[in-house]
């Protein structure tokens, strides 16, 4: 039975639960918008990275570098699109 629950994945799960609870502090305590957003950004990206490495085994095969490049490229373009659009249509309109 024990071999079915590898320590790495259990720890990963526990850590992701902790990150979720930390993120929830934004709701349950009284934070300023800036602090709250900072907390959310940090917890969300750590959590995503955790899934990628621990659960999705992104780097395990010999295509690992291609896979990381692909994801990294996608995230960069995604952020450019999100913040560029916000700049154009809200912040600088």
């Amino acid at each position: 039975m024990k071999e079915l629950f590898p320590a790495k994945q259990v720890m990963g799960f526990v850590f992701s639960l902790i990150l979720t609870v930390v993120a929830l502090l934004v709701y349950f305590t009284d934070m300023s918008f800036a602090v709250g957003m900072t907390v959310l950004l940090i917890t969300a990206f750590i959590q995503a990275f955790l899934q990628l490495v621990v659960f999705m085994h992104a780097g395990e095969s010999k295509d690992g570098s291609a896979i990381y490049t692909n994801v990294f490229y996608g995230v960069v373009i995604a952020l450019v699109t999100i913040f560029g659009s916000l700049l154009i249509l809200i912040w600088d309109m």
Partner: protein, 198 residues
């Protein structure tokens, strides 16, 4: 078909390796797909017209259930892949089954949530904000629904044909898909709900 026994089953043929890399590239496209949906949501967040605002319609309880259910399902499918690599077919099928059940619970709560929005007057047609919100949530929910069918097919195939390289490959790719949906949900949870209720 050449089978390379030094690799885990899901990587053991050339076609299997192609499938995994190809699926990762598909996930790259999915990142952009959801990024576009997030962009539109952020643009529309404050554009509520005569409809309700985010803080008026969001409820913490269903969101909490959805989040913990999906996080747990992401953990169980990870265990499923681990069991598969140990060659423990029944354990793997159990974990996959639990994952799909959790997925079903998630979907049920999401349907409840949508009905709640409908009752408080936040329909698809109400405002830019509701259209943006429901398209983002709906696209994620549609992915989960598709995943439920896909996962069911994979369970049936593993049951019938055993842990062949082909089935292992499909199961692994399905796990990538499911984890990815969890990642997307984390961003929805953080930047739609928590940001909206902050």
């Amino acid at each position: 078909m050449k089978i390379d026994h030094t690799q885990p089953l899901e990587y053991s043929t050339d076609q299997n390796q192609l499938n995994i890399l190809g699926f990762w590239i598909f996930l790259g496209a999915e990142i952009m797909l959801f990024a576009t949906l997030f962009t539109s949501y952020f643009i529309f967040e404050g554009r509520t017209g005569s409809g309700p605002t985010p803080a008026e319609i969001f409820e913490i309880t269903p969101v909490l259930i959805e989040t913990f259910v999906l996080l747990t399902s992401s953990f169980t499918i990870g265990l499923g892949v681990h069991a598969m690599r140990l060659g423990r077919k029944n354990a793997m099928l159990t974990f996959f089954g639990v994952t799909l059940l959790l997925g079903l619970v998630f979907l049920g709560v999401e349907i409840y949530e949508f009905m709640h929005y409908y009752h408080v007057g936040a329909t698809y047609q109400t405002s830019g904000f509701t259209a943006g919100l429901l398209t983002l949530l709906g696209t994620h929910g549609a992915h989960v629904t598709l995943g439920l069918f896909w996962g069911l097919f994979i369970i049936l195939q593993v049951k019938k044909r055993g842990l062949t390289p082909e089935n292992a490959n499909k199961s692994f790719i399905f796990s990538l898909y499911w984890h990815f949906l969890d990642v997307v949900w984390i961003f929805i949870f953080s930047f739609v709900y928590l940001k909206g209720m902050m």
